[in-house]
Subunit: 255 residues, 2 copies
């Protein structure tokens, strides 16, 4: 099974602590060794790092661990190939431009019998079911809205679209356009919100802890969404099957 | 002035030697310090590294210098901001997907009065004239061909489009879809072809030489296109004003 990690913040934040534990799942504490990728939004710009080497061995992942990139929206993925070969073009996250914004998508699961027709201008570069469904989501968003919709409108449309896809298999995904982070699960996803007063967190996947109080201000807010809890001493809330949540400025929105 | 570097090969080749000299132009031997970027095609997949830090200081550029990424098509750019702020979304190369392929574009020059209407589905994320004209090129290619055209057909269309843009300013660009590398200049670009028998090359921008004969096979072919010659002892051919060339499998095509 692939692993997903998403972060949404109200101020540019580095993901080093969370990524450190997450990337251990690519071969050390779990078996997800068919490539990985991470996308950082930086003021509308995007930094996308992908590698078909396992994240525990990849020099690009080593760069991410050492070089604190600050971002308000991050999506990371560690791949266990179920469909599509182990090639760079099959590594998540995938990116497309729509309405002058970068859209980033990563998927965990299989959609074996869902290959809807792509009759618009979004077409997969690789051969995964995940990129195909991402192109379909972009096509349907584009058809549903004339210009850039609000976060509430996008959430409404995405909820309708996800409900059409989910019956075809496992459909856990993260999606961001740099303004918000959408997350949908029909099997496993959970999230936590970090806010003042910050406390110490202990990683589940390696012997590393951090005291967030020493590196934050009282105004900072961070939401983290992940396949399985990253820490042993924070409160993680599991998604209900079929639930789509949206996060902006480091908090879950009641949409 | 920005600097462009493109490489097209018949076998996956690392660009370390050429990039080493090229990246010296970002602050050491020249003044191009408003960001940089490099895109590597790998079997249809794409690795894009961009940074708004100068390439001589950037840890991402350091990764490129140390980690030999092998690619058949590479486009690199060092930016001297003339239009648009120094932000990640304004760093070249720019990428869009068309016909299920990644298209990569980098531009040197100014097109101050050329803002053609973008009525299709390609829109800039940043605010540079370069990304605007790239979106227009993608739009016009898409309108001109129903499916993926041949290299010859694309070359014909690109030559017509470049001729419409070039009168509006300085329009030196590199474009690749992973199959071929197109290069157009109306001021400065030059190219060299490396083939058997390979010999020693001496960088212009730092005290480094390489004997290509020690790291190639007789079948290897590499074409390099760059703003100004990278080496002091190879034959570089300057583009004529308004010339568009296309390279595939490491050689210039007679198209």
């Amino acid at each position: 099974m692939c692993q997903l990690l998403g972060m949404n913040c109200n101020t540019p934040t580095d993901i080093n602590f969370s990524f450190s534990g997450f990337s251990q799942r690519a071969g050390n504490t779990d078996h997800h060794s068919d490539g990985w990728g991470i996308a950082f939004f930086e003021e509308g710009g995007l930094r996308l790092l992908v590698d078909h080497q396992p994240a525990v061995q990849s020099p690009v992942a080593e760069l991410v661990r050492r070089y604190p990139i600050h971002s308000r929206n991050v999506i990371a993925h560690i791949r266990k190939a179920t469909q599509g070969q182990v090639m760079l073009q099959n590594c998540h996250p995938f990116v497309r431009e729509l309405w002058g914004k970068n859209w980033v998508f990563a998927h965990n699961g299989d959609l074996k019998d869902f290959r809807p027709r792509l009759h618009s201008h979004f077409h997969p570069v690789g051969d995964t079911d995940s990129e195909h469904v991402f192109c379909w989501l972009m096509q349907e968003l584009w058809k549903s809205h004339a210009g850039t919709p609000s976060i509430a409108e996008l959430t409404h449309t995405l909820r309708e679209l996800a409900a059409q896809i989910a019956p075809h298999g496992t459909f856990n995904f993260l999606l961001s356009n740099g303004d918000a982070l959408w997350a949908h699960a029909n099997t496993f996803l959970c999230y936590t919100e970090r806010a003042h007063p910050f406390s110490q967190a202990q990683l589940s996947d390696e012997d590393l802890s951090i005291d967030f109080a020493t590196c934050t201000t009282p105004q900072d807010r961070v939401a983290v969404v992940v396949t399985a809890p990253l820490t042993t001493n924070e409160q993680w809330t599991a998604f209900q099957p079929g639930e789509l949540m949206v996060f902006a400025d480091g908090r879950r929105l009641a949409l």
